[in-house]
Amino acid sequence: MSGQVPAAPKAGNPPAAPAQIADMPLEVIGQPGVPFVEIETLRAREFIPAAKEALSSLLKEQAEGKLIRPVFNWAGRNSLFPLHWGLACCAIEFAAAFGARWDAERFGVVPRSSPRQCDLLIVNGTVTWKVAHKLITLYEQMPEPKWAIAMGNCATGGGPFRTAYSVVPGVDKLIPVDVYIAGCPPRPENMLDGILRLEQLIKERGA
């Protein structure tokens, strides 16, 4: 029974074949045929036993030393919590991307205002040397695993102020950056593309 995935009773699809979670290719997680989606087809009364069984099989796997990273990876990359550090004009475009028209929240990305609640730091704007140490503090306050996006030319490489005496020529001088979004400012579509690319990156690289 170890590692066996409980098939959903009365599901529309034929029950999925038992599979070791740890052996599954990453793409399978979250696709139809594995439990996390079929949970949606359960009735309320059936949900709790099914969830219990799924959970206990996961825990058993963990006790046997098999990692269940793919699950965490899948869950983590589909619900990123960005801390946005809006320092300059790019923050306006960031706000637009999370507003009604482009609605970045449909990708599970919900901006929070405290670094303790976030796993993604989005630097949008011109970082000066005066606040550089605060950026490092914010990054260090975020719990692991964490990622960082440099949004806009300023955060990527100093932008139009690259040779200025007061501007950090790229936040990768201060913190590790996973995705760079070019543009001055990047369009909201570009911002969304960056987030999707980061999700792809997490999927490929593992959390």
Binding site: W129, K130, H133, R162, Y165, V168, G170
Partner: protein, 158 residues
């Protein structure tokens, strides 16, 4: 008040340490003074001439000297006046205007940070735009535009 009246009253009081009262477009005039009388001059402007408000303090690096200037506003006469003095580039020091006009505080910090003018008697003369420990005054003519990589090394070397 007219510019020649201002010039007459200032020279009557400070003599040849008032170097000139020039015309200046949009202002009552530009008073050039010797930096040794700074505090008395400020006090005279505030208490006797009723220039109650200090609008800004700025500084410029002219290579052979540094100019510090003050823009004052009079509520009674509804005019601005510009005070300007030259300091030697090797020891650019002048009395702080904070005891006379508290609004000078941030402006003098800015002039110190960017142009390197020391204001004696300033209550808290720290850098304002650049991080503490930064080694340069970046609006000096002698400051070179760095390659960003050089700049990074120099900032971190403190």
């Amino acid at each position: 008040m007219k510019r020649d009246e201002l010039a007459a009253s200032l020279t009557a009081r400070f003599g040849d340490r008032i170097l000139g009262v020039d015309a200046f477009p949009g202002l009552l005039g530009r008073v050039r003074f010797d930096s040794t009388i700074a505090l008395e001059l400020f006090r005279a402007f505030r208490d006797d001439l009723k220039f109650v408000h200090l609008t800004m303090v700025g500084a410029t690096d002219w290579v052979d000297h540094r100019e510090v200037f003050y823009v004052l506003w009079s509520d009674a006469d509804l005019v601005y006046v510009l005070l300007s003095t030259n300091l030697p580039p090797d020891a650019p020091t002048i009395a702080s205007a904070v005891p006379i006009w508290p609004s000078a505080n941030a402006h003098e910090r800015e002039a110190w940070d960017l142009v390197g003018v020391r204001f004696e008697g300033h209550p808290d003369l720290r850098r304002i735009f650049m991080p503490e420990g930064y080694a340069y005054h970046p609006l000096l003519r002698s400051f070179k535009i760095h390659e960003p990589e050089d700049l990074e090394v120099k900032v971190r070397s403190d």
